[in-house]
Subunit: 257 residues, 2 copies
Amino acid sequence: MPSGTLTKGKLYLVPAPLDFMCETQAPLHQVMPDGSLLIAARLSHWVCENAKSTRALLKRIGLVHPLSCVVQDQQIAELPRLVHKKGDHAAGLDTSSLLAPALQGHDMGLVSEAGMPAVADPGSSLVRAAHDAGIQVIPLVGPCSLLLALAASGLNGQQFAFHGYLPQDAALRVQQIQSLEKQALKSGETQIFIETPYRNQALLSALLTSLQADTRLCLAADLSLDNMQIHSLKVSHWKKKGLLPDKHSPVVFAFGP
Amino acid sequence: MPSGTLTKGKLYLVPAPLDFMCETQAPLHQVMPDGSLLIAARLSHWVCENAKSTRALLKRIGLVHPLSCVVQDQQIAELPRLVHKKGDHAAGLDTSSLLAPALQGHDMGLVSEAGMPAVADPGSSLVRAAHDAGIQVIPLVGPCSLLLALAASGLNGQQFAFHGYLPQDAALRVQQIQSLEKQALKSGETQIFIETPYRNQALLSALLTSLQADTRLCLAADLSLDNMQIHSLKVSHWKKKGLLPDKHSPVVFAFGP
């Protein structure tokens, strides 16, 4: 068959449960629709953040629905580290090689370590390249910590911004927190960001000393898990309560008026 | 039992499928985790955007898992219209009345017509009041059109902002589009917004005449449904292709560099 007539495969965006590196695991059916699990089970070509965690996820999916082939026979390519950076649209990503299975007619999956690929995670460069190559992109329903945190925060969900990681430099961080608060108070926009778990406590301290007393601050950890923690209160109340985020859990931070 | 020792109920945020007012319906298991459906089925106290669509959703859930009581016996309170406005934190919402079942020990559900309650939809005032009343808030996993659109757009998912509806006034709308584009080009932040279906075409026209040729624009419609449409291309290509959004489908719009 001439390659011109070959039907391209699709690129499915496969969400992963939010229990990566967490102490407890959620049963897959509790947090993933059966429709998403069924599609993931029949794929055998993957692009991912980390091959080891992708194989672990496939093993869990295989306990629910039979996989198209055993895990060790699945074709799993990792996104190179260079596209893990902010913006994600780094030059030099060999998308035609990563998308080769779809160009050859195989459906593919893009998966990250936790949550929705390409949201607060690498992958958007690959999705963009898929569109440009005429490969259909199909996002599957599943958990996303940002979204769960925003909904549960009680903060404005009709206008919000996600900023990824704030600067590590203490002075720059305070400057950005205050600039984001100014924006939040002016427009009502909720400000959302994340931090690597071992810096959670430092970020919370910076927020409590930088934000105004009446600003509402939400910290959400272990979302979708049985030990989920969501605290949403004014900065003045945070100071009184002295709540601490767990050192080991990924936390979503959000604040607004 | 003295009321002081009463255990409060929880407020579950129950996502709804994205097929509200759409021509086709997704089977619930395809787009909702069984865990979310099981919890929804055992609730009998609801706060919602619209009681009629909540009853229709409960009937669909009842086909998958037995409901705690028949639909007509469920207690369903509608959020008053006044909190449907931008920002959602309007004065005058009688949250203690709406949250009374939880204060009396009953688990409750908050649900909107489609997607995640309190995200691009009313409900955040109630969630905020729940936190302030010491009622535990638990967001359940389910579909959210904004998130699916962002992931599938190929646009930057590590920095993004959602703006709700752009101004209806044509001049103001162009002004905001250009201001958002300036912000997007400067920071890399993806700009996301929605429109009522009958104005989709007018908004697309405004975007194509206002945005720069190299800006990437994504329109995503009927997300999570079999007839899902996701188009992500540069403005210059949109002009050549002349793609039109369906008049009847809710569309998520996103653009960025």
